[in-house]
């Protein structure tokens, strides 16, 4: 076998292979084999990846709309107060807007932080506990925010 047909040319590889001289089969880096752990056989990471993109697109509208109303229009931060909140949450539209924004932003942010923790916390114990703190804070915040939106009382006291 000549040296030429043995070498792998990464820039124009297709020309030197034929039916008689097929390209070597390289298994996909993440192909699942019998040795792949059972726990790793779900699509969770792929679903999380899709969720980040879909929720991100929705959040662009929800969050930028929120910032426009709260910080830019009508005197900016000056007008914000209990009465302003009561006026907005009198409408189911803004209740749904804020509820959707709360859930999507918290889950989007929690998954982002999960990725950051996985990337930088190298010790197994550190990584585990950082994520437990993250999940606890996320569940608490989402439930608290949901409760506040659903039980808001404009005539409190």
């Amino acid at each position: 076998m000549s040296a030429e047909s043995n070498s792998v040319d990464l820039t124009s590889s297709s020309s030197q292979y034929s039916v008689e001289n097929p390209a070597p089969f390289i298994e996909a880096a993440r192909a699942r084999t019998k040795r792949t752990p059972r726990g790793g056989r779900t699509n969770f990471e792929m679903q999380a990846w899709v969720f980040m993109r879909l929720s991100g697109i929705l959040l662009v509208v929800l969050v930028l709309g929120h910032l426009l109303i709260q910080l830019v229009l009508d005197g900016g931060v000056s007008k914000i107060g209990f009465a302003f909140v009561a006026g907005r949450w009198a409408s189911p539209f803004w209740q749904v807007w804020d509820l959707l924004m709360l859930w999507l932003a918290m889950l989007h942010g929690a998954n982002g932080l999960r990725t950051v923790i996985n990337d930088y916390a190298e010790r197994d114990n550190t990584r585990f506990w950082l994520k437990m703190v993250l999940y606890a804070a996320t569940v608490f915040t989402v439930l608290l925010g949901t409760l506040v939106i659903f039980t808001f009382d404009p005539n409190i006291q």
């Binding site: 910080l71 900016g76 209990f82 918290m106 942010g109 915040t141």
Partner: protein, 126 residues
């Protein structure tokens, strides 16, 4: 340094770093923001007290910084979606980043006065 698909140290890497940093900052703010909003369930006075913090000139400036972080994260996030789902996305990732930065500069300039109006009026009168 090859300037092809490898972008280590170039626009691709730095936008990735900025996306992470802004994302973490926004998440921590969001956590605090849900807590302060929850005070509407305590009393109107408790809520108005904490909102007074948001009207402090230094905090008002921090709000402008928060908007800067959110705008970058939102626009660059749309660029990431385009890189992933548009068949020419990877090819034009640099051009898209400079588009993101141009739109960011325009929106930041346009929102400077509306967002800081409260502070400007407080400090310099109307």
């Amino acid at each position: 340094m090859p300037a092809g698909t490898l972008y280590r140290g170039r626009e691709g890497m730095w936008s990735w770093v900025a996306h992470r940093v802004t994302g973490v900052l926004i998440f921590f703010f969001l956590f605090v923001h849900v807590l302060d909003t929850a005070l509407v369930r305590v009393s109107p006075e408790a809520y108005d007290d904490v909102v007074a913090t948001y009207k402090n000139p230094v905090v008002n400036l921090l709000e402008y910084g928060l908007v800067a972080a959110i705008l970058f994260h939102a626009l660059n996030g749309l660029r990431v979606v385009a890189v992933d789902f548009w068949d020419k996305g990877a090819k034009y990732q640099r051009q898209m980043l400079w588009t993101v930065m141009a739109v960011w500069v325009v929106l930041m300039a346009g929102s400077f006065y509306p967002i800081l109006e409260h502070t400007l009026r407080t400090l310099f009168g109307s």
